[in-house]
């Protein structure tokens, strides 16, 4: 498997494990560690962890909400406001998680470079 695939999986698995005992920003830590382990170049250092967490957050929120007929998601989608569309809210959730993971991924990559140099 290539580094991108390994980074994707590492980010996902770490994020999943850390989520049991850490706050929301554990996805940033997961992407950061994954970037140290499996370094990526260029835009993929952002997009791989971004996609990994997008899948995690959007997928998990879909599972939770689907089991409850999207009752609360519909309401929160009025509040935010996304015209009451729960799927948009699920997408937004994925994007937000992905964004956090993506920048942490870039940061991890840069740390690795600095560390290597010294």
């Amino acid at each position: 498997m290539n580094t991108k695939g390994l980074n994707f999986i590492a980010t996902f698995v770490l994020a999943l494990i850390l989520s049991f005992f850490m706050p929301w920003w554990s996805v940033m830590l997961a992407a950061f560690i994954a970037a140290l382990l499996f370094s990526l170049k260029g835009v993929s250092s952002f997009f791989v962890p971004f996609l990994s967490i997008l899948v995690f957050w959007a997928g998990y929120s879909f599972i939770l909400s689907n089991a409850n007929d999207f009752t609360l998601a519909r309401k929160i989608a009025v509040l935010l406001p996304l015209k009451g569309n729960p799927y948009l809210l699920i997408l937004l959730t994925g994007l937000i998680g992905g964004l956090a993971a993506g920048v942490a991924g870039i940061f991890g990559g840069q740390c690795r470079l600095i560390f290597k140099k010294e």
Binding site: F20, W24, V27, W57, N68, T71, A73, K75, G97, I114
Partner: protein, 803 residues
């Protein structure tokens, strides 16, 4: 280059972290809020209502059966366990609400939502809410039983909070980004103060003072009569008061200060009131007394009520509880049933305080300078520095208005005298009612009750019906507390209280029913001075006429009466308007609308246009009559609808009818026409913007979330009729907050419903599942379990055990 990139990526990471972890204005911290493992997605479910839960300090096992309405039926072996379980179960379903209400009661809303709530918080503090709650705690602690049960309840709530994982806290905490704090006995006291404020702090003494100064005594008495020509008091007119042997306070010879007051504190909703009634066995289809109650409050989500069955081997109560208070508030047990409406008694007065020149901490009283007590209110504000407000307390009470707050001028203040500051063990009344077995127990339970004064309706399986107007009520001299009083004159102080056994009451009256709907409590034969800021004048007539109309009543009659939409106010005035108004110049459109309302049968039903036309017409007419009241910088309260209609019909040429701004002299019938033409215009405008103005659409009733009716968590456009002054008192956002009917068979059979749902979680299907049935006038059959043996009605069971 590398280090530049490193720094840039660090900066980016930190910014994204900060941006997603911080609340901006009303936008929640978005990363914290949206993540699926601790954010709001975790609230996307119903509460867990099965299995075993361990709670610290339980003496015995407690069984909680849930039925299909998510009503918990709690079976404990002793009172301590029972109220501990009540605390735990209530917190489980309503934690955010029960805590938020105590923040509101204590004037701590700024802590949660920031500076925009500061004015509200200062008002609450200046009304002495915290001070009153402390007095109440003192009184409650004097009774060891109450104290131990309050403690048990707090422990129950806290054991829930302690077990609570961050991911499971109610969604409102996540939205506002704060966390539940420990529950204390004081929070229960604050909740009870909140009810006292909501129900017994309405007053317009200062507005009346302005009106008296501006219009003079004769005109004032015409505008604001103490007694209306039509009277059907709560306690029947023929009641014998000869047992009362403590006289009314004598009226001192003194003057009242005529001040000008620009603005006054916010008032509770003027429609806060209720209906209750009970019929005797002779009037009942089955021979068993039947009782009904429907408290009218703001329509809120989560609902003010939470329905529970609270049972031990000694007693078995069922009904509506107030999240945060112990026991059932409006309900029944195997022997009695009870319910409350607001008693119309004046228990708030205002005193003008003169401070010593050069020493603002001394005030004049009884020809001496007396020292005030200072209470420093420290109001925490989210994201800002704590605000300190020093409130001076005289022996009357807190100086709410002074130069620091809404006051007039240096050296003067207005102090509030309020029954809410006296302290009382109001909790005990409900604890005792829950286990009462007959009329004597009920009377004994009420004797502890001080505020907010309520009309307690009663019915028993033994066949008694009764109604006590209970509260700690000052024995006032004639006219005392109607206007601002002189705070330096000891004769103006409250001189004492009416001895509790002399509070007005009736037991098994000849007419075979008791009822109350916030009207005048007693007629003039009652030997004490009775006055209030406003009496209900319509609902009570409809209820009493209905209950007097037949020999026998059944449950369907009770349902019909709860849902009665007859608009007596409109029926009182409209025929007179049709008769006297000059319609010769009306246009075709105007004639159409006039014919519409002429065809109306005076029922505020959802598909009628009559109630909408009437509502706009009456609003316009009322404003036009009282155009004299539009004075800047003077607080005034317009006369009641009842008196306005009386004047229109009987003094139609009075100078008040004239519109000041026009050169012509208008009389009542011109006002009818002018306001009608305005009505047609505004209805046409409304129709263009919103479509057909049948009553359902025009009134557009909603049940709003406690956070300023946050649309996402509220329910809008409910198809329900009724309105202000109607037995079905549902106006736009106010009305019957709990409808209960209990037949005193053995065991009692009961119906109940409220506009909400048992769960406080907007993600639960039980959040608002009663609303549609409530709007349709339907009820839930309450599953009154006689033992903890599981019945078919039980959908899940949770067992609470000691750790």
């Amino acid at each position: 280059m590398k280090s530049f990139r490193f720094l840039l990526s660090l900066l980016l990471t930190v910014s994204v972290f900060y941006g997603l972890n911080t609340k901006f204005g009303s936008v929640p911290p978005i990363g914290k809020f949206l993540n699926p493992y601790t954010g709001f997605w975790q609230n996307e479910s119903d509460e867990v209502i099965h299995g075993k839960v361990s709670i610290n300090g339980l003496k015995d096992k407690v069984t909680v059966h849930y039925d299909a309405e998510l009503i918990p039926h709690v079976f404990a072996q002793n009172d301590i366990d029972l109220y501990k379980a009540q605390g735990y179960i209530t917190a489980k379903h309503r934690l955010w609400q029960m805590e938020f209400q105590t923040y509101a009661a204590a004037g701590r809303v700024s802590e949660i939502i920031g500076k925009s709530a500061l004015k509200y918080d200062r008002q609450v503090r200046r009304q002495g809410m915290g001070f009153g709650a402390e007095k109440a705690i003192e009184k409650m602690n004097e009774d060891p039983e109450t104290a131990s049960l309050l403690k048990a309840f707090a422990e129950g709530v806290n054991s829930y909070i302690e077990q609570l994982k961050f991911k499971d806290i109610p969604v409102e905490y996540k939205l506002l980004d704060y966390y539940p704090e420990e529950w204390t006995e004081k929070k229960t006291a604050l909740l009870l103060m909140y009810m006292t404020k909501d129900l017994a702090s309405y007053d317009s003494d200062l507005e009346r003072t302005n009106a008296l100064r501006i219009f003079g005594k004769d005109r004032f008495d015409l505008l604001y009569p103490e007694v209306f020509d039509m009277e059907d008091p709560v306690i029947p007119k023929d009641t014998d008061w000869s047992f009362i042997d403590v006289p009314m306070t004598e009226t001192p010879k003194s003057d009242i200060p005529l001040e000008t007051i620009a603005k006054t504190l916010d008032k509770p909703h003027p429609d806060n009131g209720s209906n209750n009634w009970a019929i005797s066995g002779e009037k009942s289809y089955s021979g068993n007394p039947i009782l009904a109650n429907d408290p009218h409050l703001g329509l809120k989500l989560p609902s003010i009520w939470f329905v529970m069955q609270l049972s031990t081997p000694d007693h078995n109560a069922f009904g509506a509880t107030l999240p945060g208070a112990l026991g059932v508030i409006s309900g029944f047990n195997n022997h009695i049933s009870w319910g409350e409406t607001n008693a119309t008694r004046d228990v708030v007065d205002w005193y003008k305080i003169e401070f010593k020149e050069g020493d603002p901490n001394k005030y004049k009283h009884d020809k001496q300078w007396k020292e005030v007590k200072q209470r420093v209110e420290s109001i925490k504000i989210k994201g800002e520095e704590t605000y300190l407000d020093t409130v001076r307390y005289t022996h009357h009470g807190p100086v709410a208005y002074d130069t620091n707050f809404m006051g007039n001028r240096k050296g003067t203040g207005f102090a509030m005298k309020w029954i809410g500051h006296v302290g009382g063990n109001n909790q005990k009344t409900f604890l005792e009612l829950n286990k009462s077995q007959d009329y004597d127990d009920y009377v004994d339970a009420l004797s502890y009750y001080t505020a907010p004064a309520q009309n307690f309706v009663f019915a028993s399986t033994e066949g008694d019906i009764a109604l006590w107007i209970q509260g700690q009520l000052p024995n006032k001299w004639k006219g005392q507390g109607k206007y601002l009083m002189d705070g330096s004159n000891p004769d103006h102080d409250w001189q004492g209280f009416i001895p509790q056994p002399f509070n007005a009451h009736t037991k098994n009256p000849e007419r075979g029913f008791v009822s109350s709907a916030n009207q005048r409590p007693v007629d003039q034969s009652y030997p004490y001075y009775v006055f209030n800021d406003g009496y209900e004048t319509y609902r009570n007539k409809v209820i009493n006429d209905f209950l007097g109309s037949k020999d026998k009543f059944d449950i369907q009659d009770f349902k019909d009466l709860h849902n009665n939409n007859y608009n007596l106010k409109a029926a009182d005035l409209l025929p007179y308007m049709f008769e006297t108004m000059n319609i010769s110049g009306l246009s075709v459109e105007e004639m159409d609308i006039l014919n519409d309302i002429k065809a109306w049968n005076f029922n505020n039903d959802i598909d009628e246009t009559g109630p909408s036309i009437w509502s706009v017409w009456w609003g316009n007419l009322y404003q036009t009559i009282w155009d004299e009241y539009n004075i800047d910088e003077v607080a005034l309260q317009k006369p009641s609808a009842y008196q306005s209609i009386y004047l229109l019909k009987n003094k139609g040429n009075d100078v008040f009818m004239d519109i000041v701004a026009t050169p012509e002299i208008e009389t009542a019938k011109e006002l009818f026409l002018i306001s009608f033409k305005e009505t047609v215009k505004s209805l046409q405008t409304w129709k263009v913007a919103n479509g057909n103005y049948h009553w359902e659409a025009y009134k557009s009733t909603f049940v709003g979330h406690l956070l300023q009716a946050l649309p996402a968590f509220s329910r809008f456009n409910l198809p329900i009729g009724g309105g202000r002054g109607i037995v079905n008192a549902t106006s736009k956002n106010h009305g019957p907050s709990w409808r209960m009917i209990v037949e005193m068979s053995s065991p009692p059979k009961a119906l109940g419903i409220y506009p909400g749902g048992q769960s406080g979680n907007p993600g639960s299907k039980y959040y608002d599942n009663f609303i549609d049935d409530w709007a349709a006038g339907k009820y839930n059959q309450l599953n009154y379990m006689q033992s903890e043996i599981k019945t078919d009605a039980v959908i899940a069971t949770q067992t609470l055990i000691s750790e």
